[in-house]
């Protein structure tokens, strides 16, 4: 075969390969998302007493991670944080593996930020979370009747942003009892790592998620992972600013679409 024909043949294969990968992705993304799910893995109402940490503007990570996009991690607009064990992970046999989270706020007077953390039992630690800002960011933010931030007496600022145990707010405690005190250990290896696999999305067919800002005090979003490291459990971070009064309530339901 002449050299120029060989080049043409190789380029044809090159184009064919690109076509094949796009076709595979198109086929996978155009399937029907399953909506049926079994019982709730989590069905619990959280109150003002369940906030464990704060006031602070950052979430745990290899470095202090802002709770909202482009927020100053050393800023004064403090959030109060609670970690909720969803007691669930994606069902890998599902068409779009994910965990569904239904939320309902009452008495919210500010912004609530949702972020997700991933726990792998073999590692015995939480080393994955969603990217808050920049390319590939995802997150879910609810703003209702914003008022100036008040002070809660119970919670304390987290002692460290990494290599720290965080307490979950669930009545049943942590699903995985590695530490025996209802905590999960945050262990991020390096800055920039552990941010590409976990996502928060409102559309199962957009697995990489998006940043959602809403004023609805009730709603649904999904948390998932897209990497090859299978997460054993998701932990939801709920951060709230504004006035948190005694009538504050957050009902959370987590379920796994089949």
């Amino acid at each position: 075969m002449e050299f120029r024909y060989k080049i043409a043949a190789a380029f044809a294969v090159f184009v064919l390969l690109i076509g094949i990968v796009f076709t595979i992705q198109w086929v996978y993304l155009n399937r029907e998302a399953s909506t049926t799910h079994g019982g709730y893995q989590l069905y619990e109402t959280f109150t003002v007493d369940d906030f464990s940490y704060g006031p602070q503007t950052w979430a745990p990570y290899a470095s202090k991670m802002p709770l909202t996009p482009s927020a100053d991690v050393n800023g004064n607009e403090g959030f109060y944080l609670m970690f909720v064990d969803l007691n669930a992970t994606s069902n890998l046999n599902s068409t779009f593996p994910r965990v569904q989270v239904d939320y309902a706020f009452s008495g919210l007077h500010g912004t609530a930020a949702f972020h997700v953390y991933g726990y792998i039992h073999a590692d015995g630690a939480v080393s994955w979370t969603n990217r808050v800002e920049g390319s590939g960011a995802s997150g879910y933010y609810v703003t209702v009747d914003p008022q100036s931030t008040g002070i809660l007496s119970g919670p304390q600022i987290m002692e460290n942003h990494n290599h720290v145990a965080v307490k979950v707010a669930n009545d049943a405690g942590a699903t995985y009892k590695d530490n025996g005190n209802n905590t999960y250990f945050m262990q991020f290896e390096k800055e920039g790592g552990g941010l590409n696999s976990l996502h928060i999305t409102t559309d199962p067919k957009t697995p990489k998620g998006q940043v959602t800002n809403t004023n609805n005090s009730t709603g649904t979003f999904f948390v998932n992972f897209t990497g090859d490291r299978v997460q054993d459990n998701f932990i939801l971070l709920v951060a709230v600013n504004g006035t948190i009064s005694l009538d504050f309530q957050l009902n959370l339901k987590a379920s796994v679409p089949q």
Binding site: K6, A10, F14, L17, Q25, G192, T226, D228, V230
Partner: protein, 192 residues
């Protein structure tokens, strides 16, 4: 007969050279980190493919790239930073694909388009093995295949770009001969 064997098998100097190329892949992989934070999965192919193509281009023997793949895969699998033993198969697949491409383009490995294709296909082979093993091991096909296009394109494009760099380097060093090639030239100067 001796002449035939000399052409078919690797000389000791070639084995040493290819081993060094394999070690170079490990060094490049282990010590050069670019801060893309996972947004460009596989972009490092722009540097990994260079030693493969130079090794293949200078020895011009089938099996050169596979040998580099074996050496680099073993080094990364054993000494790599949390790479895991399965990395070996990625580099083996990459090298073997380049060898097959080199056979297809026999006598033209020094051509810039061929270098681009070698880099792109080699890098893509590594991606295919990587995803194939990940799906087999983690059973997460539904998760991985839904986002397969972007990393595949990045592997192809950056592998091709690495091929261009390899072509430039190869062009500067291709006059350097192995001792047995030099001896052949001395025996028959007209072949120069």
């Amino acid at each position: 007969m001796k002449q035939l064997m000399r052409g078919k098998y690797f000389a000791l100097t070639e084995v040493c050279f290819l081993s060094l190329m394999g070690a170079l892949v490990y060094v490049l992989r282990a010590f050069i980190k670019t801060p893309t934070h996972g947004i460009l999965p596989g972009h490092n192919a722009i540097i990994w493919v260079i030693p493969f193509i130079i090794g293949l281009g200078l020895t011009r023997k089938f099996g050169s790239a596979t040998y580099i793949g074996v050496v680099s895969g073993l080094l990364l699998g054993i000494l790599g930073d949390h790479e895991g033993g399965l990395k070996f198969f990625e580099y083996l697949g990459m090298g073997f694909t380049m060898d097959v491409m080199g056979l297809f383009f026999k006598g033209h490995v020094g051509n810039v388009i061929v270098c681009v294709l070698l880099g792109a296909f080699g890098s893509f082979a590594k991606f295919v093995v990587n995803y194939g093993l990940a799906i087999l091991v983690s059973q997460a096909a539904n998760v991985l295949l839904a986002g397969v296009a972007w990393p595949a394109i990045v592997h192809l494009v950056f592998g091709g770009a690495g091929g261009i760099i390899a072509f430039i380097v190869l062009n500067r060093v291709k006059h350097v001969r192995f001792p047995h090639q030099q001896a052949k030239v001395s025996e028959n100067p007209k072949t120069v």
